[in-house]
Subunit: 95 residues, 2 copies
Amino acid sequence: MSDLDPHVHQPARLRILMLLSGVDSADFAFLQKTLQLTKGNLSSHMARLERAGYVRVTKAFHGNMPNTSYRLTRLGRTRLAAYWKAIDEIRHGAE
Amino acid sequence: MSDLDPHVHQPARLRILMLLSGVDSADFAFLQKTLQLTKGNLSSHMARLERAGYVRVTKAFHGNMPNTSYRLTRLGRTRLAAYWKAIDEIRHGAE
DNA sequence: GTCTCTGGTTTGTGGTACAAACTAGTATGC
DNA sequence: GCATACTAGTTTGTACCACAAACCAGAGAC
């Protein structure tokens, strides 16, 4: 009975992870705009995902402007897949 | 973008609702045993689901022993279905 | 200069999941 | 009958966490 990873099982983070799983990399502004999260909220979710090792953060400057971008790690990808598997088990009664 | 109902989007409650969706009615002891929750935890989840109108509680006596049983309401059933729909949207990028 | 905008992080608060402690009553020794 | 243990739950306390508001720092506009 594989349990639902609490890092993934949270609406905002699930969306973040799904988005990242399709784009190779995305920056803070893009994530905030597409997911409609407040900056503070997004910031703390990303910090959490980073601490958990699910995303890698890259801070750089575009011209003079700071820019933070995120990419899913292999671990993050694995855990996301495992999450969907666990969801399917709950949904379809697998053991 | 239908959001994930927080009453449903919680591991224990999701399991409870899925279990109830398949059995017409189940009592406290059965839920506790099959879902491996502590009594306190199960009690508060059920109280929450009742307050939300997702389950109906029936208290009765079996012989001399008190017995509390739960059944999914129509609302609960609807919301559970909506939850899976919302999950699918996140999973498959529907709008 | 100073005002405002971009790009975030830190802080405070309210809500909540959880288990431990408790309550209420029932069966079981002895 | 009196205590001991078990059934069937509920209440309470704690620790965590999601969220937004407030904050910080630099950049461009005027």
